[in-house]
């Protein structure tokens, strides 16, 4: 028997063009709560997917109780006793708690389902997890805390040796978090190993026995919890050196183009206030779920707000729809390029003019000549690689698709350009071209707001950074401030305060 219930050795996982994991190590003991922590994009999700058999590692070994295993699919991983409670729960809300727990493992009496026994077992399992509920009720009638327990109950029922919890507290209230922690300790006392993935340092310190830090797809360090401190964890997470891959150019700071005052959406944004100036790039930093995308969507009129004011060039502007936002001179390049930025089955030609039909019409008709002229201009200036302007956008590469979105918004001739994760999923060369577009916008006196989860990008391109956490603005840092560094911005993003 091995000392560890699950052990990963030297895992390497490649995706086309990227090495997602390399030199990855992880060892979880039975009856241990093992924390896993890393920045956005550090490789936590990929690591989980390798463990659960969603991805097959290209190199390296997985041992379960000292025995070497290869998981080709999630069923094999589950059969080996590894269960995962994903951040997005797999709950069928309309089915009963019992159905959810026994899904695909139904107990039968002859050909019929044996609900008497299943309800009884479900009630027992849920009670052992501290939830005294009626399992014949629909799962959706219970809160997130109970729904999560249903997932854990599934894991208990298949006799899981290790349960992975991916950001389990992100959608829970305070009381539910306490209950979850009690449950974790209970599972621990039964000898089950728990891999606890969290963004919240205080939870790790309260709950975990050991914590592993990963960064850029690589194993960094595992220590007993008493050997970690807040600062040492953050340093281990961000401790990479910055290369100058950012062709930052400076504009002249102009007037305040956009002021957001006390922007509030119940349960999402809490009195968010900031200013953005012409001739500058304002970086919006924070962890995933900090409310950055929600903030810019609200500014752009894509989602309704509960309160707050928006001033464009000093004038209060009531924006209720994207159409009004564009009329006010705001452009939003969404994070989800395919889902929200482009009409994939349409041509480059059409996608380029979607937010500027008026400028490309003469009388009632579209001016195809003008469309072609400006379109070819963008294809050239942005170096969109395509055989023709009538190519279907869905057939272009990610970087070229992003350039089409950029071209669309340049056509709209806005004053305020909001880029939400503009370089996600595109190759290095295309990234630099996107940065150059931002540079030229800033030099033309426009105001650029950039959301990015990549710290080097934030530091490399921003003139000023606003840090958000939990729907609130935590800090504002100027480029010439002493806090304009990875550690301090990370600290603010993780809820720490920056003293002067």
């Amino acid at each position: 028997m091995s000392e560890y219930v699950v052990e990963l050795k030297n895992i390497l996982k490649r995706f086309p063009g990227v090495v997602a994991l390399h030199n990855m190590q992880l060892a979880v003991k039975p009856g241990e709560i093992h924390g896993l922590i890393g920045e956005n994009g550090a490789g936590k999700s990929t690591l989980i997917k390798v463990l659960t058999g969603v991805h097959l590692a290209d190199e390296g070994e997985i041992y379960v109780n000292g025995e070497k295993r290869v998981f080709k699919n999630p069923n094999e991983s589950a059969a080996a006793g590894i269960a995962c409670v994903y951040q997005e729960l797999n709950i069928e809300k309309l089915l009963s708690v019992t159905d959810n727990i026994f899904i695909n493992k139904w107990l039968k009496k002859g050909v019929l389902l044996d609900y008497d026994t299943m309800h009884k077992r479900a009630k027992e399992v849920m009670a052992s997890l501290g939830q005294d509920i009626d399992p014949s009720k629909a799962a959706g009638t219970f809160g997130m805390g109970v729904q999560q327990m249903i997932e854990i109950a599934k894991a208990v029922l298949i006799d899981a040796k290790m349960i992975i919890m991916d950001e389990p507290t992100s959608s829970l209230g305070e009381k539910e978090v306490e209950q979850l922690m009690r449950t974790c300790r209970e599972l621990k006392s039964r000898g089950i190993g728990i891999l606890f993935v969290s963004h919240k340092l205080e939870e790790l310190f309260e709950l975990c026995d050991r914590v592993t830090v990963i960064r850029d797809g690589e194993y960094i360090e595992t220590r007993d919890i008493q050997d970690w401190t807040n600062d040492s964890l953050i340093t281990a997470m961000v401790g990479r050196t910055l290369e100058n891959q950012f062709p930052k150019e400076f504009g002249t700071k102009g007037e305040c183009m956009l002021e957001v005052k006390d922007l509030t959406i119940g349960g999402v944004l809490d009195h968010v206030s900031f200013k953005a100036y012409g001739g500058q790039i304002l970086g919006l930093s924070g962890l995933v779920g900090a409310g950055r995308t929600e903030t810019v969507r609200a500014v752009f009129g894509a989602d309704p707000i509960d309160g707050g004011q928006i001033f464009v060039k000093g004038k209060e502007t009531h924006i209720r729809s994207p159409k009004q936002a564009i009329q006010a001179g705001i452009a939003l390049l969404t994070e989800d390029r395919k889902g929200q930025g482009l009409v994939l089955p349409q041509t480059i030609r059409t996608n380029l003019i979607m937010s500027s039909f008026k400028q490309h019409s003469s009388g009632p008709f579209l001016d195809e000549k003008k469309i072609e002229q400006t379109g070819m201009g963008h294809i050239e200036a942005l170096r969109i690689k395509t055989p023709s302007i009538d190519e279907i956008v869905g057939q272009l590469s990610g970087g070229n698709q992003q350039k089409v979105v950029i071209g669309k918004w340049i056509n709209a001739d806005a004053d305020i350009y909001i880029f939400d994760e503009p370089t996600r999923g595109i190759d290095v060369g295309a990234k630099v071209e996107v940065y150059n577009v931002m540079n030229s916008l800033v030099k033309a006196g426009k105001c650029v707001i950039m959301i990015s989860s990549e710290m080097p990008e934030i530091l490399g391109m921003s003139d000023r950074v606003v840090v958000m956490r939990g729907g609130r603005v935590m800090a504002e840092v100027d480029r010439d401030s002493k806090h304009f560094n990875q550690e301090d911005i990370m600290k603010a993003a993780w809820g720490g305060s920056l003293d002067d």
């Binding site: 894509a302 159409k323 936002a325 929200q340 994939l344 059409t350 579209l366």
Partner: protein
């Protein structure tokens, strides 16, 4: 829009139409007679109106299952006015078109402002409402003796050529230009291709959709007027006829997709012609109506299947192109 690709596809449907015509010409010498061809066009007109509205809805990735019942209801509304002693045909037609537009506007509003899920359900409900209304306003009776002005569109011919089809040609040309060369037309394709991206590009997608369903209602009303001229009567019981499926089939055969974002007026016209030639052929070859239903049903299934195959082929072509 992909001019080249949709062109090559339409070549296939044109070919299918030609083969059907050649087959019928050989099987029955009456098929190619002038009067028979004109009667095919006359039959095409009604479906061509309905298919126009249907196409707009399909491009937005929606559907309007109430077009047939709406056409019958609008016709019955004119019948009701006729029975009540209204003599002005113009007034009847104006009321008819306003009623059709109102029904379409309601369909669009249910979808966009009340956020009912897929229009399949709401327009299916509307179909039943209109069927009942058509029977109510006519007292479940057939009504005839419409003024000549009402019957003109569906009945009149110019040296044998049906006026209704001339109107259809004009309509299709206008709609073709509208869809391909105006901002609103282009917005309809965009909305069907990706509703959220279109909204975030500053296009009021709710208004675009409401426009499409309202147009569908107006087209149904025009179809209703044509049907009164062609048959001389209005009959509320006709609301259960498979007019909607004929319109859908015409659009899908012509290259529209249930996934939205695709479809052209030219293709839809060919689709309409294929269906009416098929129906005409059944009559000429004296195929009994039960068999007719079976074959037409199979054609519709085939058309949908073609839509699926087309999608798969395109995905494959895209994969190959990407791999290059």
């Amino acid at each position: 829009m992909t001019k080249k690709k949709s062109g090559s596809f339409q070549l296939g449907t044109v070919l299918a139409l030609v083969i059907m015509c050649v087959f019928l010409a050989i099987a029955n010498k009456n098929f190619l007679s002038y009067s028979n061809l004109m009667s095919v066009l006359k039959q095409t007109a009604f479906n061509a109106f309905l298919a126009t509205g249907m196409l707009l809805c399909l491009i937005t990735a929606g559907i309007d299952l109430s077009v047939g019942a709406n056409a019958v209801f609008c016709a019955c509304l004119m019948g009701c006015m006729n029975k009540a002693g209204v003599t002005s045909g113009i007034l009847m037609m104006v009321v008819c078109i306003i009623a059709g537009a109102a029904v379409g506007f309601l369909n669009g509003t249910l979808l966009t402002r009340l956020h009912l899920p897929h229009p399949f359900v709401s327009t299916l409900g509307m179909k039943n409402v209109l069927w009942g209304m058509a029977l109510l306003v006519t007292g479940s009776q057939m009504i005839n003796n419409f003024p000549d002005s009402v019957q003109f569109l569906g009945k009149a011919t110019i040296s044998g050529f049906p006026v209704s089809f001339i109107v259809v040609i004009v309509l299709y040309v206008i709609m073709h230009i509208f869809l391909s060369r105006t901002a609103l037309g282009r917005s309809i394709y965009c909305a069907g291709g990706n509703m959220e991206a279109t909204r975030l590009s500053g296009i009021n997608t709710a208004n675009v959709l409401t426009f499409c369903y309202t147009m569908s209602g107006i087209m149904a009303a025009l179809g209703g007027i044509v049907s009164v001229g062609r048959s001389g009567i209005c009959n509320g019981a006709n609301a259960t006829q498979p007019y909607d499926t004929d319109a859908i089939a015409a659009c899908i055969i012509g290259g529209a997709s249930f996934n939205g974002g695709k479809g052209t007026m030219v293709g839809t016209m060919i689709g309409c012609l294929i269906i009416s030639v098929l129906r005409n052929g059944f009559t000429l070859l004296s195929i009994e109506s039960a068999i007719q239903n079976v074959v037409l049903g199979l054609v519709i299934i085939l058309a949908v299947f073609m839509d699926v195959v087309r999608g798969e082929l395109e995905a494959k072509r895209r994969r190959l192109a990407a791999a290059k």
